[in-house]
Symmetry: C2
Subunit: 245 residues, 2 copies
């Protein structure tokens, strides 16, 4: 019957080995649009197609460590900066033929980056770019699916966690926070009600002492806030119109 864990005398080399990789859905907000970090593949298979950044998990490394390492490499952000970013395991993709070359099991992560730099164009052929979500065509491998899963997960988590602050710089206005919800959900929220909701949820945000900030162009300067202690919202901030996909 079952083999439980490793059976007596199990030989790791008896099977064709599995490769374990990480794939990253790195999301950010630029100019009021959701953007994804994509890389253009230089080799077959899928040469010329766009794909999620990623790479192999090293022999002595956890998948999360591998994901953070790749994130730093691809974005050009420092290790220290990357250490503070929101990185979350999404799910693992294991279909036997998802990579035509060999058996690859990929642990996918979602990363949220506020105000990112241009990805550093490395020396090699493949370029990395921020692409507005939805304007890329089909991605390589099963990355369409991974990216869609990431988007859905982020949208859902905005409802019942404080995740939205991960898209914002350390100090932000309530308008910027509201922009996160509106952009990811693709809806408009009532400004007064959003403000009340956020301010009355304990631990969501905390006011920053000091002068308000001029918000881009016109309008009254807005007070600044920092992310609070809480990680979950109770009650949740539900998106309008039921639960669209």
């Amino acid at each position: 019957m079952t083999t439980h864990r490793a059976p007596e005398g199990y030989d790791p080399y008896a099977f064709a080995p599995f490769a374990v990789t990480v794939d990253l859905a790195v999301l950010t907000l630029r100019e009021e649009r959701l953007h994804v970090l994509l890389v253009e593949r230089g080799q077959e298979p899928y040469a010329g197609a766009w794909a999620l950044p990623g790479g192999f998990v090293l022999p002595r490394e956890s998948a999360e460590a591998a994901a953070r390492r790749e994130l730093a490499e691809e974005t050009g952000l420092s290790e220290a900066t990357v250490a503070g970013l929101h990185l979350e395991q999404l799910r693992t993709y294991t279909e036997p033929d998802r990579d035509p070359r060999m058996r690859v099991v990929s642990v996918a992560f979602t990363a949220l980056v506020p105000d990112p730099p241009e990805p550093r164009g490395g020396g090699d052929a493949a370029q990395a770019r921020w692409i507005p979500y939805g304007t890329h065509g089909h991605l390589a491998f099963d990355h369409d699916r991974i990216l869609a899963d990431a988007h859905e997960r982020v949208g859902a988590k905005l409802e019942y966690t404080c995740l939205a602050t991960a898209f914002c710089p350390p100090e932000f206005t309530l308008g910027e926070l509201r922009q996160v919800y509106e952009t990811v959900w693709g809806v408009e929220l009532d400004r007064p009600n959003f403000r009340r909701k956020v301010l009355t949820t304990p631990g969501f945000v905390q006011a920053v002492e000091g002068p308000p900030r001029l918000t881009g162009g016109r309008g009254k300067p807005a007070a600044l806030y920092r992310a609070g202690e809480a990680t979950t919202l109770h009650p949740p901030l539900l998106r309008p119109e039921g639960r669209p996909a």
Copy 2:
């Protein structure tokens, strides 16, 4: 910089290979308590300790297929029955030293089983048993963590999905459905309010024509319901008292 997917000339045998396994947190309700399916280990490491059932992913098999295969083996349920059960990927555990023998990456699943048989005692030494949740001591490997993650996930998903019906047989009473919430959350719910909430949520349950069922011992016979079309609840059914762990 990045290796993207497999670099040119990547040799799958160049690194010590990763083993890929599945671990299952199989939950059920028995006598108004949450139970977990555990197996007693017969060999080192952790000989004599209890562990989650699981096993290796075969070379041409997805992790989900492996999980369903193991579930059938461990519970003794037929392949056909297992095909209809709720099985969901939880997360993947990748710490390099989580198994002292070799590098094992494990994709964990949560399975929900209504009214299960005793696990079939296989021919070999290791026994499998339903254990009341929380009465097992420390589990082998990182299985304490996996099981705790599974419990938390199930508790959270009861709030905003129809998951509770997965703990119930095909036809069930509202009392049985309420019992799921009360047992998993460890709280008491107001019977009238629960009933209204469930019946007014479109697609949660649908009434079964026919005579009501006598509920165990005393009390008025209860009407029967089947799981509905819906998968998510809007608005959610929040547990009382904030969000306890």
